[in-house]
Amino acid sequence: MMDKQDKEIARLFKQELPAAGKDPWFTRRVMNRLPHRQSRRMSPVEVACIIAVCLLIIVAFIIEGTIIISSQQIFVRDIVVMSTLTMMSLGVGGWIISPYLKN
C-alpha cells in the first residue's frame, strides 16, 4: 500500500518522466523481425502408428471389397462399412497433409 510520500513520488514520476514518443512503425518493425516457427517433426512412434492405421484401413477395404464381390450383393451393412472406412481414410489423410497446407 502506498503512503502519502509514495503517492507524491508516483504523481511526480508520471508528470515529469518522459514517455517514449508515439512510434506508429514500432509494431511493424517488430512483426518484420519475428522468426518463423519451426514445424514440429513427428516422432518415430507417431510415424509407426500412422503407417499401422493406414495399413489397417487398406486391409479392411480389401476384406470388405472381397466380401461384396463374392456375395454379389450389396447390403446396408456393406454400405455403412465402406462409408466408415472412406471417412476414416479422409480423416487420416487430412490430418497428415494439414501441416503442409498450413505452411
Binding site: F13, L17, P18, A19, A20, D23, V30, M31, L34
Partner: protein, 176 residues
Amino acid sequence: MLSTVEELKLIARCIASDDRDAFGRLVDAYQDSLRRYLLNLTLGDACLTDDLAQETFIKAWSSIRSFKGLAKFRTWLFRIAWNEYISYRRRERPTADLDTPGADVADSDVHSATEANMDVQVALKALSPKERTVVLLYYLEEMPVKKVVEITGIPEGTVKVYLKRAREKMAVALSN
C-alpha cells in the same frame, strides 16, 4: 487497454495457430508502457530503448508457448524486458555492477523540458540500475511489491530496502 479475457484469447491464438495478427495486437497494447519503462531505465537512451523493446517482444513471441498464464502477460513481458537489459549490460559492461549507482551514467542522454523534469531524472541517475528498476516498476508502472519481485527476481525484503533507500535519495536530490 486489453481486458484479461481479450488478452488470454489473443495469447491462445498465438499459441494454437501462430497467429501473428493476434501478437501484433499485444504489441500495440503494451509497447507504450514497455518503452516508457525502458526509456527511463536507460536514462533517456532512445536507440537502446527501441532495441531492447524490440528484442523483448521477439523473445516473447519465441517463448510464448512457455507462458502458463499464472502471472499476467504484462508481468511476464516486463520480466523479459528486465532480463534483456541485464544481458545488454553484461555484454557492454561486463565489469559494471547492477548495484552500483551511477555505473551507467555515461549511457544517458538526458532530455528535459522543465526544471522539475530534470530534477526527477537527476534523482533517477543517483540510483543503481537495480534500485532504478524497482522504483520505476513501483511508482511509474504502479506495480505492487509482489509483482516487482516476480519481474526482477529480487527478494521482497531487498525490494523494500531499495524502495526505502530510493525514497531517501530522491528526497535529497529533489530538495537540491
